[in-house]
């Protein structure tokens, strides 16, 4: 925390205010005194300039796509087009009340209907609900739909969801939220699901399998049709985690791989901004037999225009209104700008960049976790050898990359590869940026050999060095309090 980055509370003085934002005081004497607050909340008391300067300065302490190469695997940190942002900022969209009558909402509803149809086309499924507010909520919706489907058929003994080893943590967490137990299925050495292990795992208790393709290993699951057949033969359903859809956009439709239900992360594949942790958006798509269970509301089209519709056996509502509408508008604008041709190119260039980067890193002396496989839109480097040789870890590399002006790749995921970096350059990065990353990695490797300490103690060029996570967890300090010494 640099001196210019004191907390907003340290900047305040009693009685100061951003006066242009303070409406005139009005009486509330008709309200019973015992229901009113005696002491005002200790919100900051700052001028407008102080607030603007403080938060502008804070923003500059962030790495972001707009500032840096951000190859965070599994997160698809691609350019977020300003045009899409502008489209969502139109007054009619921003000021529309979520419960405004349908006749006053035809513009918005038309947009949602268009997006539903585009996503249906993209995923190869007949029905889509836009309401889930993030990938994890999409997963929840999908697994809840699987459960509702089995229950409606009186098939109540199914109690397990299968996930491949190395799945995103959300998959088991979601299964648990839907009342299922989780069983992991081993992944073979080549990165594909171990078919023998899958056959041994499925049975009358199998409600479904959750997986992504390309898998979390950064390779295409080649035996996906066989996986689907085995799960379907056992009476289970297949859930597609759309985390890695960017690799396949315009190449393969999840519906054609045998999946029954899925979510799409619009904040990845459809380039909506990640916002420092959210909002996301995770629309769900469903095959025919699951369509009736989709979360509501969805947008239908009738003679009198567009209207809200509840799917007949809907699992219900997932939010107060209809999800992250403003993100959905951005995704629509992005899809319209890409068009058919542009969507084909997304998967192609994401894959081209990843394979090129993988090849160049290999040439620079790094080990790929799956050297005999094509990379998808991302790939895994394992630093196990460097760890043995120089004592440096994947985390050390990640922190040192920050010194080279780049955001780190995803570290230590998936769990099945030791000392790994999951690297996803995305299609919107130029070859020069990718080359610069290779050069930075090569220099760090050289440093590890000659001066490992500089890598182990990185970063060195940021306002702060590594933070003490243990202290943070043992001595919880989760809010500012008056009297906290200011640095």
């Amino acid at each position: 925390m640099a001196d210019s980055m004191r907390t907003i509370f340290d900047l305040g003085r009693p009685g100061r205010a951003a006066n242009a934002q303070v409406p005139p005081a009005e009486s509330v004497e008709d309200l019973p005194a015992e229901m009113l607050r005696d002491d005002p909340p200790a919100l900051p008391e700052v001028s407008e300039l102080q607030a603007v300067r403080h938060y502008t300065n804070l923003s500059r302490a962030n790495y972001s796509i707009d500032n840096q190469f951000y190859p965070l695997g599994s997160c698809t940190m691609k350019y977020n087009p300003r045009g899409a942002h502008r489209a969502a900022g139109a007054r009619g969209f921003l000021e529309r009340h979520p419960l405004a009558p349908e006749p006053l909402s035809q513009g918005f509803l038309a947009c949602m209907h268009d997006l539903q149809e585009i996503l249906q086309d993209v995923v190869g499924m007949p029905a889509v609900s836009l309401t889930p507010m993030a990938g994890a909520q999409g997963e929840f919706a999908g697994v809840a739909m699987i459960r509702a489907y089995h229950e409606a058929r009186g098939d109540a003994a199914r109690s397990e969801i299968l996930v491949p080893q190395g799945a995103h943590g959300t998959n088991p967490a979601t299964a648990a939220m839907c009342g299922y137990t989780v069983r992991e299925v081993a992944v073979a050495r080549d990165g594909d699901v171990d078919i023998g292990a899958l056959e041994a795992a499925v049975g009358p208790a199998t409600a479904g399998l959750m997986t992504t393709n390309p898998s979390t290993c950064g390779v295409f699951e080649r035996r996906i049709s066989e996986v689907a057949r085995i799960v379907h033969d056992a009476g289970g359903l297949l859930y597609y985690d759309g985390a890695n859809l960017n690799a396949l956009l315009g190449k393969v439709k999840p519906g054609d791989m045998g999946f029954d239900v899925l979510h799409v992360n619009l904040h990845k594949t459809f380039a909506t901004p990640h916002g420092g942790g959210g909002p996301g958006s995770g629309p769900v798509g469903a095959a025919e037999r699951l369509a009736d269970y989709l979360p509501g509301p969805v947008v239908g089209r009738g003679e009198e225009g567009y209207r809200w519709v509840e799917p007949p056996s809907s699992i219900g509502r997932l939010s107060a209104f209809m999800g992250n509408a403003g993100i959905l508008i951005r995704a629509l604008a992005y899809a319209l700008m890409l068009g058919r041709e542009g969507m084909h190119r997304v998967g192609e260039f994401a894959t081209l960049n990843a394979n090129y980067l993988a090849r160049r890193l290999r040439e620079a002396g790094f080990d790929l976790a799956y050297p005999d496989r094509r990379a998808s839109h991302e790939f895994i480097v394992t630093l196990a050898a460097q760890n043995r040789r120089y004592g440096v870890t994947a985390m050390d590399f990640a922190k040192r990359l920050l010194d080279y002006g780049m955001h780190a790749p995803t570290t230590y995921f998936p769990l099945i590869v030791p000392e790994c970096l999951l690297i996803e350059p995305t299609e919107t990065e130029s070859r020069e940026e990718v080359d610069a990353f290779v050069n930075a990695m090569a220099r760090i490797l050289a440093e590890a050999a000659t001066d490992a300490e500089v890598v182990k103690t990185a970063p060195h060029t940021l306002p702060l060095r590594r933070l003490d996570d243990v202290k943070a967890a043992r001595e919880l300090d989760l809010r500012w309090r008056a009297g906290t010494p200011s640095p």
Binding site: P23, V28, P44, L58, D121, A134, A320, L464
Partner: protein, 463 residues
């Protein structure tokens, strides 16, 4: 191609480096039977100008006259600086602050946000936000059940009583989300005065694990939260408060509800006030935007912090002892705890939290109080201007149910034709209130707009 920077020369050189003849070869591990990337609905790509024109035309179709509809989404003034700051690329295009050293901006901002929300609610801690108020209530209910896992009766029962005048769409979302976790939801009915009868709790067949109270309630009324909180604690239930954050600049914070002194597990020796506070942050600088993105918040007591779902930021030090911020208590979360996580949630609505934090800084305690008081005053004015009887007597904050003397749905539709967003017809949520129109006036509504509303209403009712 939009947003793809590669020249033909780049592509050729990159393919040569990889050692493949063409891009297509990069997909050679995909079985040909699966290659079906043809689109039928997606059209030709459009330039930004054309997309903005088309979507702009649609947006203009939805522009309306003044909005008198609230029901969980409120048309407040948003200071210009709020989205100038939140829209900065450094906030908008960053992701979750896992690399703390490169994310101090987002992390410090969330820490300040946690502080401000704790101040408003009177609680010890707040999370870094969840998706929205509706799903946030579900998370708060799940949290309460975990925190009171022995159940009010000590038998591990999982019954949650939700006030019948809580937001019906929040309750709907909650039912969807908790359905498969063996939790029974019962309703604490409201009486003819629109408020929860303090004796309703004792009429339940058994004491619940948690009680959900909304203040102001869905009808805009100030409810009997003091008595209800104490009664809930007396029977061993935890109290989940669902609140409007702007109202808390004026109203007693949930931490001070009741007198305390109740016994039981939930009360932990009779601590005063709610145990968990949740709500939607949209009123704090976030446009209505068709209901999202907004953000939900969950605040709680220190003793329950490990049951709190979602991200949490803590202050710590770097290797040189300089203060800094980092995500903490991550062992609760899905990426570590997997099937045993407090929730599957990963997202916090960071961008909206950014807006809300700037908003609260600009408004300050006096500004936010005055906004709350102005909303209350405008709504009093509106009720006078519309000259309709109220369905419920008693003090309200900035919403009120009026009796329009016929199905309110008709009124809403007719006023929509005149460009006025009149309010919410309650019949589809509360059949007994088919004539009830829930109206709201924020600080933005002017006397002129109210006169226009009153005039249009009179025309519709007399015509």
């Amino acid at each position: 191609m939009p947003f793809i920077p590669h020249t033909d020369a780049d592509v050729a050189e990159m393919l040569a480096a990889i050692g493949v003849p063409d891009v297509e070869s990069l997909f050679d591990e995909i079985p040909s039977a699966l290659r079906s990337g043809e689109f039928t609905t997606v059209g030709d790509g459009l330039p930004e100008m054309e997309v903005l024109r088309r979507l702009g035309d649609r947006a203009r179709r939805d522009e309306t006259g003044p909005c008198f509809l609230g029901a969980g989404s409120y048309d407040h003034h948003v200071p210009a600086a709020v989205w100038d700051i939140a829209g900065r690329g450094e906030f908008m295009t960053a992701y979750t602050p896992y690399q703390a050293e490169a994310s101090q901006g987002t992390l410090q901002l969330i820490y300040e946000f946690q502080t401000m929300m704790s101040e408003l609610t009177g609680m010890d801690v707040c999370n870094a936000s969840v998706y929205d108020g509706g799903s946030g209530l579900a998370e708060a209910v799940l949290m309460a059940v975990r925190a009171n896992r022995r159940g009010a009766r000590g038998d591990g029962s999982r019954v949650v009583a939700i006030a019948g005048n809580a937001h019906p769409l929040y309750v709907a979302a909650t039912r969807t989300i908790v359905r498969n976790q063996g939790i029974e939801i019962v309703t604490l009915p409201h009486g003819e005065d629109g408020r929860v009868d303090p004796d309703a709790l004792s009429r339940l067949p058994a004491p619940p694990t948690a009680v959900v109270l909304q203040q102001p309630n869905f009808f805009g009324l100030l409810d009997n939260v003091d008595t209800l909180t104490d009664r809930a604690h007396e029977v061993g239930a935890l109290v989940v408060a669902c609140v409007n954050p702007v109202s808390l600049a004026l109203l007693k914070p949930p931490s001070l509800w009741g007198k305390g002194g109740g016994g039981g597990e939930g009360g932990k020796g009779g601590e005063r006030g709610a145990d968990i506070v949740c709500g939607d942050g949209q009123p704090l600088g976030v446009p209505m935007a068709s209901g999202g993105p907004s953000f939900g918040f969950i605040c709680t007591r220190q003793r329950l912090v490990r049951q709190l779902p979602g991200r949490i930021v803590g202050r710590t030090e770097d290797l040189d002892g300089r203060p800094g911020f980092t995500l903490t208590l991550q062992a609760r979360e899905q990426h570590i705890r997997r099937a045993k996580a407090t929730s599957n949630i990963c997202t916090n609505q960071g961008l909206l939290v950014t807006a809300a934090t700037v908003y609260m800084s600009l408004l300050g305690p006096a500004g936010l109080r005055n906004v709350a008081a102005a909303c209350h005053a405008r709504t009093l004015e509106l009720v006078r201007a519309l000259e309709l009887p109220r369905c419920f007597e008693g003090p309200f904050f900035h919403e009120c149910v009026l009796d329009v003397g016929r199905p309110a749905e008709e009124i809403v539709t007719a006023l929509a034709e005149r460009g006025v967003v009149a309010g919410l017809a309650l019949g589809s949520y509360f059949p007994e209130l088919a004539h009830g129109l829930l109206v709201c006036a924020t600080e933005k509504r002017t006397g002129e707009e109210m006169r226009r509303f009153a005039q249009a209403l009179a025309e519709v009712r007399n015509g």
